[in-house]
């Protein structure tokens, strides 16, 4: 093959970038241009990505990498470039597919919005950044796009800025993920320092850490892995940095589907998978990843049970499912993590878009105010139902297969996490059945004139529903296609354990059945738990008080420091001024106003600073 599609893979991010530039230049006052440019550019990207993927599925050229010298620093060179591996090819398709469907969907969902072209320009910029992140061939380039997706996410979460919650959420999303990013940057710095020749590209990283040759000390490896993982924790909403993700639901729903369910939040999982060799070189780091992931999975799933906002339930569900992926990675199963990322992208995007369709119809997000929508919204109901079954892990839908693979790995590697995973699966099925039955079954409440959404919204739903139903078959216990393809068969296979499949399907069905008993049949009273253990419900409703804990532990002290320094400025400095001027007035001397006292205090502070420095640094030499 002379030229391959992989060689022109750099075009994929360029399509949305051109769309972004065109929208920036001509988008003002245009209403349809955004839809047009956004859809066309993402479709072009999708077609090319599929071609790249097909190329990678066939034998022959499996890998393409191109880079150029970007900058010289202190005698070492840093390259920038792109790399197409099987993993990136898969991610490209996921990102462009969801992005294309969301672009189409938004044509209907955002129709009435005045700033629709601004919306499309942000989405295009996001697609560009996300695809750049996927294609990056080294840590530094990845980091740059990593920051860019963060900025886009910030802009889109705060898109409806007239709502104060949206503004606050945007700020929170940005600051919290930045904490993670700082960790990632430190990890990259450490990597830079210890890698031979300061190489930061994934190929070299793979070679250095994979060989187990001990080029880099074990403790350093652990630190690097953990710092990179901190970045992933921030981006992928893992405990304890998950607090921003549910709040980010203040953004438009298509954005929640694209950024906060299918693509950007999965970037953390992708990052860990991309630097998997580093993690595999340190058992400590792997354990940290596995336990944080497992804990997040159960933790967020329980919160999901007590929420009433349809998007927040889905958001906690996302946090929990991302926890599953991390857990899989931490247990050494990259295939499991990526497989779940793949299926989750489809069914969660489907659920969010379905939720958007519901919100579009009933103009509320509170599931207690909804009901009986199945009669009026047939397509939405059916597709949402498929999404629910897939997420709850009911065979033969896609979520079952990927979850089964993770649970199977957990059973063999760490039975504790298997138990955690099964429990989380039960809660997942329960909150999803609660959500589904409250919204679509029962008697209509609130909005009586709900009607099905336009075709631009339902067609993406149908496509995603097909994928959510069927995409799981690429990897089953009897058929290790994905695993062989992704890892060249290097990964340990655990074989099919029938017992795991039975358990996982059983807890899923049990959760759904319990939800049916409570919310449809009424055999179990809805307040069965809240009347007996109101504190428990309250704890879950308040999300284990995480926000309050952060407020008390981080925000207040930091703000307090700011206040303190300002207080020194305002009260002590000012107070001294007033003392000085007051004394001066008392002595009856004029002109205190011209001799502004503040400047004296500034002088005093300067001299005090000098003395402190002298005493602290020099004093030790003489005493």
């Amino acid at each position: 093959m002379d030229t391959s599609f992989s060689q022109v893979a750099w075009l994929i991010p360029l399509f949305p970038f051109v769309a972004f530039l065109l929208l920036l230049a001509f988008g003002r006052g245009q209403r349809t241009l955004g839809v047009l440019l956004g859809s066309i550019s993402s479709f072009a990207g999708l077609v090319l990505s599929i071609l790249v993927l097909i190329e990678h599925m066939s034998d022959g050229t499996k890998y393409y990498q191109y880079s150029f010298k970007w900058l010289d620093f202190d005698g070492l060179t840093m390259n920038a470039g792109y790399e197409v591996t099987n993993l990136t090819a898969l991610m490209l398709v996921v990102v462009t597919l969801v992005s294309f469907l969301v672009n189409v969907y938004s044509a209907g969902y955002m129709k009435g919005d005045e700033r629709i072209s601004v919306f499309y320009s942000y989405v295009a910029l996001f697609s560009f950044s996300m695809l750049g992140l996927v294609l990056a061939d080294n840590m530094l380039t990845l980091y740059i796009f990593w920051e860019l997706v963060g900025v886009c996410s910030f802009l889109l979460v705060g898109f409806w800025f007239s709502k104060p919650e949206a503004k606050a959420a945007a700020k929170k999303a940005f600051i919290v993920t930045r904490i993670g990013d700082a960790g990632l940057l430190l990890g990259i710095l450490l990597l830079y320092w210890y890698m031979p020749d300061h190489a930061l590209d994934f190929v070299h990283i793979g070679n250095v850490f994979d060989g187990q040759t001990g080029i880099i000390a074990a403790s350093v490896t652990t630190w690097i892995a953990i710092l990179i993982f901190v970045g992933a924790v921030g981006k992928s909403g893992q405990f304890p940095l998950h607090v921003w993700l549910p709040d980010a639901m203040e953004g438009p729903t298509p954005i929640s589907a694209l950024i906060h369910a299918a693509t950007m939040v999965a970037a953390g999982v992708y990052l860990v998978a991309r630097t998997f060799d580093i993690f595999q070189a340190s058992q400590t780091a792997m354990d940290v990843v596995a336990y944080i992931g497992g804990f997040t999975a159960i933790f967020a799933a329980t919160i999901g049970v007590a929420q009433n906002d349809i998007k927040r339930i889905l958001a906690y569900s996302t946090v929990s499912q991302l926890g599953y992926m991390m857990m899989a990675l931490g247990l050494g199963s990259m295939t499991g993590g990526i497989f779940h990322l793949f299926t989750h992208a489809f069914f969660k995007a489907l659920l969010f878009l379905g939720a958007g369709s519901v919100i579009h119809a009933v103009h509320t997000q509170n599931i207690q105010e909804m009901g009986g929508l199945s009669a009026k919204m047939k397509i939405t109901t059916w597709t949402f139902g498929i999404g629910t079954l897939a997420l709850s892990g009911i065979p033969p839908f896609s979520g079952f297969w990927s979850k089964d693979m993770i649970l199977n790995t957990a059973l063999h590697e760490k039975p504790v996490l298997f138990a955690v995973g099964v429990a989380a699966a039960f809660f997942t099925a329960f909150y999803m059945s609660r959500l589904f039955f409250l919204v679509f079954m029962g008697k209509p409440k609130g909005e009586q004139h709900a009607h099905e959404s336009p075709a631009s919204m339902t067609i993406p739903l149908i496509i995603l529903a097909v994928l959510a139903a069927a995409s799981g078959f690429i990897q089953t216990p009897w058929n290790n296609t994905l695993g062989t393809w992704l890892t060249d068969g290097a990964e340990k296979e655990h074989g099919g354990a029938g017992i795991v499949m039975v358990i996982s399907a059983a807890v899923g069905l049990l959760g759904l059945y319990l939800g049916w008993l409570v919310f449809v049949k009424g055999t179990i009273a809805r307040d069965a738990i809240s009347s007996r253990a109101p504190w428990l419900v309250r704890l879950l409703e308040r999300k284990y008080y995480m926000d309050e804990i952060y407020e008390a532990l981080l925000v207040r002290p930091l703000r307090g420091l700011g206040y303190l320094l300002n207080a020194i400025d305002e009260y002590i400095v000012d107070g001294l001024v007033q003392l000085v001027s007051g004394t001066a007035v008392w002595f009856g001397r004029g002109g205190t106003r011209v001799q502004n006292g503040q400047i004296q205090t500034y002088g005093v502070v300067t001299v005090l600073g000098l003395i402190v420095l002298l005493v602290a640094l020099v004093g030790r030499r003489f005493w």
Partner: protein, 524 residues
Amino acid sequence: MEAVQQQLQSLTWSDAAYLAPEWILVAFTIALAVLDLFLPRQSSRSSIGWLTLGGLAISLGFAIWRLTDVIDKVGKTDANGQPVSHVIRLMGDSYRIDVFSSLLKILFLVATMLIVLMSLGTVRKTDISDRGEFYYLLLPAVVGAMIMASSGDMITLYIGLELLSITTYVLVGIRKHAVQSAEAAFKYVVTGGISSALLLFGMSYLYGITGATNLGAIAQGIQQHASEYPALLYVSFFFILAGLGIKIAAAPFHYWAPDVYQGAPTPVTAFLAVVSKGAAFAIIFRILYNVAFFASSPDYPIADDVFLAVLVIAAAAMLIGSTMALRQVNVKRLMALSGVANAGYLLVPVGLSLKGMHASNVGEFIFYLAAYLLMTIGMLAVLSVINKSVGHDEIGGFAGLYYRAPWTAAAVVVFVLSLAGLPVTGGFFGKLFILLGAAESKLYWIIAIMVVSSVISYYFYFGIIRQMFMRATIDTEVRVPVTTGIVIWLCAVATVVLGIVPGPVLDFVNDHFSIVSDLFVRLQ
């Protein structure tokens, strides 16, 4: 005590030719002052502004020419195969034209040109009545900064410093009818006095110990006598640090900065933040690397302590600057405190000293200074436009800017990203290079502080973005004057270019600059 003798040569005509960039500015100052007297009272003084710009441009041309000339001689050998120094030394090494000083002069001149250009669009007669003076007084101020960059002797260094200071005192107070401006000028004069006093006191000890004012001679004297006067040397260096700490507005010597920046006319604020600060950094580099570096004796590791003090001041500046900025709503005060934090970042390469493999301190410093120059001047240029539109400097003036002036808002995004140290901007690589330098010196605590303080700083920088994108727009038209618009776009584009291809700038400095020949003053 045996004084180190040195010969002070007088300035010859051929030497004077090397000083063309400085002479031209002096000549323009005098000519413009006279012209200002003869121009009719009503006439707009923008002609003087354009002439000032012209003078700066000619001077810049000569400075660049001199730099290429100096670079050509790097690494040349004479007929006997002996290496020839490329440094031009005037008056017994008290005035040096080397790669270090030439690069800084070019930065100062470019910055001042941008500042004059931005003033041409926004300075109003009702605000500054003596606009002629406003423009041509910038020239002696730059000359002062250039002398500081070139000096190899405490006397020239001090003369440069005072020339710069005194002219900026006048410039800060040039809005004669504004109380704020007068108050700022007063505060600046007093603080400047304290700074000079501390600096002179410290320098007098150096003279006392070595009997010399030339930095090379002092270094030699100290190498011989350091062990005899540890206490005096400590006092001397710490006083010098404090005096210059005031000039660069590093914590805890920064309290004057918010008041003065706020009261000064915006272009003067930009001048203080960039040129004045940069020039003080130039002499910090010169003094510390020339003199303090050699002051250690077996019992007293003075050099280590002084460089540690620099890092401690840097850490304090980063943390205090960014936390105090959290509650600021006035953009000028915000920029002042951001300037405090940035002084901290700029101090890091100074304080890293020369450890192990790490020798690119000056490269890191100059790159970040260039990035800082662009983002600060750009941001203040936007602010001066906004001030014209809404009449104040509060952050609320940026509300809904994206919907009123989308392109200006896009430029502000670039500046904010750069200030916050995010890609793809010059500020990102500036900080990254400094971080990498610190990583090479294995000073992890300062890396941690840099990262923490930049995380804190996101909060207030993004306050500006939130205003522009996420606030309802206010109904005032934003009109960007052509000249100010040019400044904004030059800065924004250059910031992005530095963020995409940082290599050339850094390579240029690292390839041509050598600490031994360009920073060290050594007797021959």
